[in-house]
Symmetry: C3
Subunit: 236 residues, 3 copies
């Protein structure tokens, strides 16, 4: 479950792989025939992060990557995936003036990914996901409308019913403001079996809200099956 | 595959679990910040039924529950799930003036669930689902537009091709009226690999139509793999 | 993984089965109550092809079938499926004046299917799909808008990130014209975890573009897990 950065494949686009069947790629100059259909705007050099499982972890990791490099998030798409699980995969395009910046952003994202899988917990019955950032950057703003530079919190669970209770627990646990709420038939989840709450506020309050929801989520998902396990190591 | 009602978890929202990785929950008073985004209307006390597999069984079980309690179905959402299978999961919110009514409705739904998984048949190739009610109540009306107080019949199969034939077999087998037809690209299935037919009519005719489709469905799904098995015990 | 044509089931609608949990069926005369909801237009006799895995292979196989018979494709629907994989299933209706024509078309499609699974490659991490036709017929036109009678090429991969690079590799490898590009949040994929490129041009150029993408795709998907394997035998 670690990150591999190497280029022994002989494919110039390849950067590396990481947790969640995630692959990192770059295209130095996207063919002109594809620029419009891919909605790349002004960019021709792009980094690509995509996985079978996740979305939250990859979005957090790319948020770190764009903070640290001269790049911008172009788009974030959320397929219905997780290899038979209740959630998403992801496809994120990162734009740069120079391909070396795109490559550096992809490397940073792949390296950050194991951290952000730390509060993704799974069992045979479903999964829980929690994310926290003291200071949201452009990827979190683009994905969820979370305010730039403010604290970011996320609670998520599948089956969705558990996610509903976690949303309520989080907002009651601390003085936070709701940024968005997504449910299977209510926009934003690509029909995944999840309820997702995004919130902001004082960073201490946001972290407290996330932790309160995590404590309840581990019990509720545990009631449906075995004890949920972290994918890597909890970080919040 | 039975129902568990207990509250040794120490989570006040927890009611119990049942077949299909289904969990039953209540929130005594949903936080005011969530009432609008959750589209709860006038309700603050809610019951929640959600599972990884199903939709039909949970909708039937909640239909029983709202008949028997002073509650109302607020919403029914259908994620694309079944843990790698061809169908749905579900997320149902039930509203009540008093949380004890919401809890009672959730308990009744969880207890009814094994019955309504009885005509859900599975194999490694796909699944069949049949439901029948002599008298549809508010959950069946809300989910499918089935007329209140009239008989309700449902045929469903994945892969969807089998569901198409079952729809035709059902309407030819008895004098029934089509309420709705859903297919993967035609609304109502969240891109599940199913064709679903809902019909009404005289209760004897509806049951006859369901049984005729069931006999054909078991043969067709059986042609793709092993003999389809009931999840619990057939009830129709 | 072969095709079975037989009718020992005692179900008149049954034609046979093939790769991808695909079943072939016919209805001699669809019940009048279903003709409108199924959007059959002028047809009453229909052939049905539907599977849990695929879409590309079944669309190619039906393209062959309508070329060879007096039939027309009515509709192509793409559920999100592949039994926990990253892609689609499919549901295709074929119309005919006479049920014997519909049955013949379904038989041809089932028999062609193993060929078109030949350039579908899978591993535990995802899949690759490549298709090529020197001369597109009505099913490819209806599914993708590919010009009738012209060469047809398709590259596809899940996770979608790999599909993005394959699209770029294909259009750079030869002088081809883009027909359509599909990504998870960009139309056409039912939220599958795939990027799909359809292109046309001189038949030699189209084949060259497909082969160049295939060579890269096998390396990139291989970087995420074990060596991807053909479902049957490569044909391009």
């Amino acid at each position: 479950a670690g990150t591999q950065l190497c280029n022994s494949l002989g494919v110039t686009e390849f950067v590396g792989t990481s947790v969640g069947d995630t692959i990192g790629l770059v295209i130095a100059s996207v063919d002109p025939m594809l620029v419009d259909v891919m909605k790349l705007g002004k960019y021709r050099s792009i980094g690509i992060i995509g996985g079978r499982t996740g979305a939250g972890p990859q979005i957090m990791a790319v948020d770190d990557a764009v903070k640290a490099t001269n790049t911008e998030v172009i788009s974030i798409e959320l397929p219905r995936d997780t290899k038979g699980g209740a959630g998403h995969g992801d496809l994120i395009y990162i734009g740069a003036e120079d391909v070396s910046d795109a490559r550096r952003a992809v490397e940073i994202a792949l390296a950050s990914l194991p951290k952000y899988f730390g509060d993704v917990y799974g069992s045979e019955a479903g999964h829980l996901e929690f994310q926290y950032s003291a200071r949201a950057s452009q990827c979190l703003e683009k994905a969820f409308g979370s305010p730039l530079g403010k604290a970011f919190g996320m609670t998520c669970a599948g089956p969705a019913a558990i996610g509903t209770v976690l949303a309520d627990v989080a907002v009651k646990a601390a003085n936070v403001d709701v940024v968005c709420y997504s449910s299977p038939g209510n926009g934003g989840t690509s029909f995944s079996n999840e309820v997702i709450l995004i919130f902001t506020g004082d960073s201490g309050a946001v972290r407290q809200a996330v932790r309160a929801a995590r404590a309840v989520g581990l019990k509720l998902l545990g009631a449906l099956g075995s004890e949920p396990k972290s994918t890597t190591h909890p970080y919040i």
